[in-house]
């Protein structure tokens, strides 16, 4: 009876030295072959694309034999259960011994074996908890009778290799998965923070580092509340956590919340948060997905303010309209009625006085007509509706109290709200030039470039105007913003003001 402690040790060493299961198998194969002095070994595994057949995935041979043909034959072959020596062992899940494969009827590679000088062979299963992972076969240079002790040792080694390979495989899959998750989390834009049941930070990804201003190394292990929750909200957070742990009643879990977060410098900011519980054995751990919504909140506030201003501007326009009508045309018509009534009562007795009153009445009527015309034009210029920007801007420039030149105006028509925005931009620019800038000259330029209407009103006045100073310019900015356009006022203290408006359009 010969024991094989050297082989067992060599295999144990080879398995211990590497984490890669494929490499571990290759080393085990060589360790067995060299320690036993056998000539050739091979590993067979179920084919990945046809798991009901075995294929040869690894071979080893002693340095002094020409195993090329036999190895090639092995690697080409796929064996069904029960077919050849590997197939038999795979089927029976027990080791097997063949005194001379060249003489064995169930050995498809026997011709190649004869030419390679291979005769006795044994084969044993690589067994794991999941079943047989594959088989390992060995051949030597002369026929040899069954060595039951060797075969027993090999069967035990097969179990050992199986367990090691399986562990390696699990660890490898785990590591690969972890690396993938880590890469995903590292690239995430939202902050992912995990917390244990004590409230301590377990993980803090790069997005969280950027948002909250702590390095992962500083954050992990610290009380999450102290780290990212403003002091006045910490107690509520701790009570919520304690209540959850006591009752398991998920008040906040898996819901989208808007809360206040705190950065390392103590500044607070709005955060959108979802908390989920990680389902692992032991005390609960939690993952928080946090997103800094400062920009979104600011955009929402801007939008609300702009909407409110548009409504307020419309209301103000109605009030002004009522006032203009009341103080203007309506007064003139009242005076007209009084003049006419007085003229009538004097018609017979004081005809000269009656004529005077009628003249006054005609004057009132003319004035009322003029005021109504101006009012109507101020509400919306008829020339713009009928003829588009060119006639409307020509009329506007002609009425401007500061001399205005139209440098360029497109003849084509645009959407009504685009034309209106462009028209009122020019009107506001001219009003500003006349009222505030004390300008002597204004240039107006309207051109269509790349799907946008560019409007520019340039004056040579005193400058120093601001886009958000007057209600007129602010109202105009809102009107332009509602069309996804932009208004810029360039008005240096050194003089001159440019009102520049860009409105997306299709002619």
């Amino acid at each position: 009876m010969v024991s094989h402690p050297r082989t067992e040790q060599a295999v144990a060493r080879s398995l211990a030295q590497t984490a890669d299961p494929r490499y571990a198998l290759r080393r085990a194969l060589r360790a067995i072959g060299e320690s036993l002095g056998w000539r050739l070994g091979a590993v067979w595994e179920p084919a990945t694309d046809a798991p009901e057949t075995l294929t040869c995935v690894e071979t080893w041979h002693a340095a002094d034999i020409d195993a090329h043909e036999f190895e090639a034959a092995s690697r080409r072959m796929s064996l069904a259960a029960g077919e050849g020596l590997p197939g038999r062992v795979w089927q029976s899940e027990e080791p097997a011994w063949v005194s001379d494969v060249v003489a064995d009827a169930n050995f498809p590679r026997r011709a190649a074996a004869r030419r390679a000088g291979l005769h006795a062979g044994f084969c044993f299963p690589i067994r794991s908890a999941r079943g047989v992972l594959g088989v390992i076969e060995f051949f030597t240079g002369e026929p040899r009778e069954l060595d039951a002790e060797l075969l027993g040792t090999m069967a035990a080694l097969g179990d050992q290799i199986g367990q090691a390979v399986e562990r390696r495989g699990d660890a490898e899959v785990l590591r690969a998965g972890e690396a993938r998750l880590r890469a995903m989390l590292d690239a995430a834009l939202d902050c992912v923070v995990t917390m244990d049941s004590e409230g301590c930070v377990l993980a803090f990804i790069p997005a969280a580092e950027r948002t909250f201003g702590y390095a992962s190394g500083e954050a992990v292990g610290r009380d999450m509340a102290e780290l990212i929750i403003p002091p006045e909200l910490r107690e509520r957070h701790r009570r919520g956590l304690a209540r959850y742990l006591a009752t398991e009643s998920p008040v906040l879990l898996d819901r989208r919340l808007e809360i206040t977060g705190m950065r390392a410098d103590g500044k607070t900011f709005p955060v959108e948060l979802t908390i989920t519980r990680i389902d692992v054995p032991g005390p609960p751990t939690f993952t928080g997905y946090l997103r800094d919504i400062t920009d979104r909140k600011a955009a929402e506030a801007d939008l609300r303010a702009s909407r409110a201003r548009i409504v307020e501007a419309a209301d103000e326009a109605r009030r002004r309209l009522e006032r203009d009508l009341h103080d203007g045309a309506q007064q003139r018509l009242v005076e007209l009625a009084l003049d006419l009534r007085m003229a009538r009562t004097r018609l017979d007795e004081e005809p000269a006085r009656a004529r005077e009153l009628l003249d006054a009445a005609l004057g009132d009527l003319e004035e009322a007509t003029r005021e109504l015309r101006e009012l109507a034009r101020g509400i919306h210029p008829a020339a713009l509706t009928d003829g588009g920007l060119r006639p409307a801007l020509e009329a506007l420039a002609a009425r401007s109290s500061v001399p205005a030149q139209l440098v360029a105006v497109p003849d084509m028509r645009f959407a009504a709200q685009v034309e209106a925005a462009a028209y009122f931009s020019v009107a506001e620019g001219l009003t500003n030039a006349a009222r505030h800038a004390a300008a002597a000259n204004v240039e107006v330029e309207v051109v269509q470039v790349n799907g946008a209407l560019h409007v520019e009103v340039r004056d040579d006045g005193r400058g120093g105007a601001e886009a958000d100073a007057g209600s007129g310019l602010r109202g105009l900015a809102d009107r332009v913003a509602a069309l996804d356009g932009e208004l810029v006022v360039v008005s240096p203290e050194s003089g001159g003001t440019v009102v520049r408006v860009e409105i997306p359009c299709e002619s």
């Binding site: 009341h326 309506q330 007064q331 018509l333 009242v334 005076e335 009625a337 009084l338 003049d339 009534r341 007085m342 009562t345 004097r346």
Partner: protein
Amino acid sequence: MAVAVVIVDDNARFRVRARMCLEADGYAVVAEAADARSGLEAARRHRPDIVLLDIELPDMSGLELAELLTREPGAPAVVLTSTHDAADFGERVSRSGACGFVPKGALSGDAISALVP
């Protein structure tokens, strides 16, 4: 003796016409005022029979002034007027103590005498 009238209205063009109109119909316009404060003073000084009072005054509503005027001892009759219609002011015209309302365009001596008791 002619019926004495004080006209309270911030619009000078209207005051000119109202005076002409009422005087032609035999009323005596004893004073004009352009706001509520001077209207109240004029009424106290001249003690007119009638105050023709515009509802929209710069310093106070004519409706409030009507209440003040009609609470005074020996109060004048107050006739409210406006470019707006009486209906625009709802119940406030009848509650103000004024004896009536004349739209500005319909002002005449007859319209006034029809309202004053």
